[in-house]
């Protein structure tokens, strides 16, 4: 059994650690390139959302390297993610790949079904060592997220442009390659030291922008064209609403702090959207309201074309923008997204925020 999985930001490193610690053979899909996107777009339905297409590209490239089993997340609606795997299986079948798909999702046919799926991956381990492996993968995701979070703040302030990204790629390789808690701890400390000694500019608080939207587009820098880095280099401090470990915590770990935060987000969204609309539509509204209340200089929503929950959120965001007088930029992306167009829009948005800030926020209100 040679296992592969789709890329989603740093989740793929955590997945790799999880599966390798279980003693399984892992085929990491090659990094996402334009070939991945065009393979995905060729074999996927035309109007499906971008993550689906990238997944298909990942699978095909991993199968070319000899993978034969896919581990994939699922769901029970109403977002399309819940039915991804069913169609992906048919597409791979029609392409002639004899792939087995293991879909991890809330069970429809009782808990035994889910346990059956997990135990096909954990043969030969007792429940304690499985728990230990899961905990390690979660810790790894968490520590990468902490590094990324710090980078989102300091990228706008670094004196020598590009140092941050060197640290980030080192962090991904050293922390991502750790397989025991001791190695992880050592790698983490080294990266933290390097971050702490990074030469920073002083004086003048940078602009602050909240990033909200669809989780895959937020987490995968190769697909969102490095949105967070671009903003960082434009001198903007980035606050992103979702991280891999938060997502895992929310779904798998009974953490009271996460529960409280989730409830706070839901309550913030309540006046604008009455109930959940699948995916992260409600969270997008809630986080936007919270960011606006925190006094962010702007909010950027990013979504793949035809994403249903985010379209609902996009339709509601103008009210949030008007009420809090905060500029909101919506970026809709698909496999044709061009870097120059994105850069121009971001520069214009940042310029607008900067002049608003200089003039006390009294100019350039939403629309007329």
């Amino acid at each position: 059994m040679r296992i592969t999985f789709p890329h989603m930001g740093t989740l793929s490193l955590a997945m790799q650690a999880l599966l390798e610690n279980l003693g399984l053979e892992v085929v990491m899909p090659p990094p996402i390139t334009s070939r991945t996107l065009s393979l995905g777009a060729k074999y996927s339905p035309e109007c499906v959302c971008l993550p689906f297409k990238v997944n298909i590209g990942n699978y095909i490239e991993a199968m070319e390297l000899g993978a034969d089993t896919v581990v994939m997340a699922g769901g029970i609606g109403p977002c399309r993610l819940g039915y991804y795997a069913e169609l992906q299986r048919e597409i791979l079948f029609d392409l002639g790949f004899n792939a087995k798909m293991i879909v991890l999702e809330p069970p429809q046919g009782g808990v035994t079904e889910l346990w059956g799926k997990i135990s096909s991956l954990t043969r030969g381990h007792n429940i304690l060592s499985v728990a230990r492996v899961f905990y390690f993968a979660w810790r790894l995701a968490k520590s990468l997220d902490n590094v990324e979070k710090t980078l989102h703040y300091v990228r706008a302030l670094e004196k020598t442009r590009g140092l941050c990204d060197i640290i980030w790629s080192d962090a991904q390789s050293t922390i991502g390659r750790a397989r025991t808690l001791r190695e992880l701890w050592a790698a983490e400390t080294r990266i933290k030291e390097r971050l702490a000694t990074l030469p920073l500019r002083t004086g003048g608080a940078p602009l602050r922008v909240g990033l909200v939207g669809e989780i895959y587009m937020l987490l995968e820098p190769k697909v969102n064209l490095g949105l967070a880095e671009r903003l960082g280099y434009l001198g903007v401090e980035v606050h992103r609403s979702m991280f891999v470990s938060d997502w895992v915590t929310h779904h798998l770990v009974p953490d009271p702090r996460a529960k409280i935060l989730a409830r706070k987000v839901k309550r913030a969204a309540k006046p604008y959207l009455r109930g959940h609309v699948g995916g992260h539509g409600l969270e997008t509204i809630g986080h936007s309201v919270l960011y606006a209340e925190e006094g962010m200089d702007g909010i950027i929503q990013v979504l793949p074309l035809t994403c249903m929950p985010e379209i609902v959120a996009q339709s509601i965001l103008p009210t949030v923008s008007q009420k809090y007088e905060v500029p909101i930029l919506t970026l809709v992306m698909d496999e044709h997204a061009g870097e120059t167009g994105l850069q121009t829009r971001l520069e214009a948005f940042v310029d607008m925020m900067r002049s608003r800030k200089k003039q006390g926020g009294s100019v350039l209100k939403y629309g007329n």
Binding site: P45, V48, G82, T306
Partner: protein, 337 residues
Amino acid sequence: MVVVGVPRALLYYVYFPFWRRFFSELGVEVVLSAPTSEDFFIAGAKAVVDEVCAPVKIAMGHILSLAPHVDYVLVPRFVSVEPRTYICPKLMGLPDMIRHNGLKMPPLLAPDIDLSRGYLGLGQVLTETSRVLGKGWWECGRAFYRALPEVSKTRRQLMTGLTPEEAFHGTLRLHQPGRRLRIALLGHPYSIYDPLLSMNIIERLRSLDVDVVTAEMLPDEHIALGLARLQKKLFWTLSKMVLGAGLYFLHHDSEVEGIIVMSSFGCGLESLVGDMLERFARRQEFPMLHLTVDEHSAEAGLVTRLEAFVETVRGRTSHAHHLSPYGNAELGNASAP
């Protein structure tokens, strides 16, 4: 007397008789918007973000056209009409999308229809209608109870082969005698029955001497039979109808000779389900035509494709299925039409 406007769009094609009865029991006047026209489409598209699908843009046009004539416009928040199954994220957020899009909008009557956790979810419908219309809770409950049989009555009427418009407004269609070609037309009710969006596809097919069968014309058991072939339960009511009926026609029905799937551009559900059905149909060498429509659809193109498809299907029936439905297309390169 309070006047409530009902837009002739979205789930009007499923639940209109229910709402008509419900409001007449309450003594509320109902105004129905005119059949979809080009103007509705243009006005609606201006009032929503570009990314939403054509049916929602049309619905928006209907709502705007009703606004000057009524006190409230009925836009229910359809979450779910059966346990653990949903309608569609956009319909789940529709009233909020209308209220908060930054434009001036008419007041809405927007009850939550949520049966995902059982029938207790319906209490909100009564609370909301009694609050907005100023009627008593029990009065609303009685009207609701009396209107409920209309849902199954509509279902039975549609099973006789009528379209919703024919069934709701009592227009009779003369059945043509003799054995005619039967073709299934699958899609969300608000796509295939909307005269503008579907470009009257049902009438066009009938004028080509074709008997049209839609998913609404099948009994529930047949749809369940089709759905039983899936590995994972579908969690969208509208897609269950499309895919269930499609699989039923592919595997259990010998009368239907071809399938036409009509979806609107940007419809999230159909992007998955339509492609899935296309793959199943190809494996069976079953003729299937997938039409995607939006506000830019051109009639001439549609007519040509329909005529060609009907010719193919007719040719296959008279040549004992020796004609390939898909040319030499490789199965793997299925995505390009």
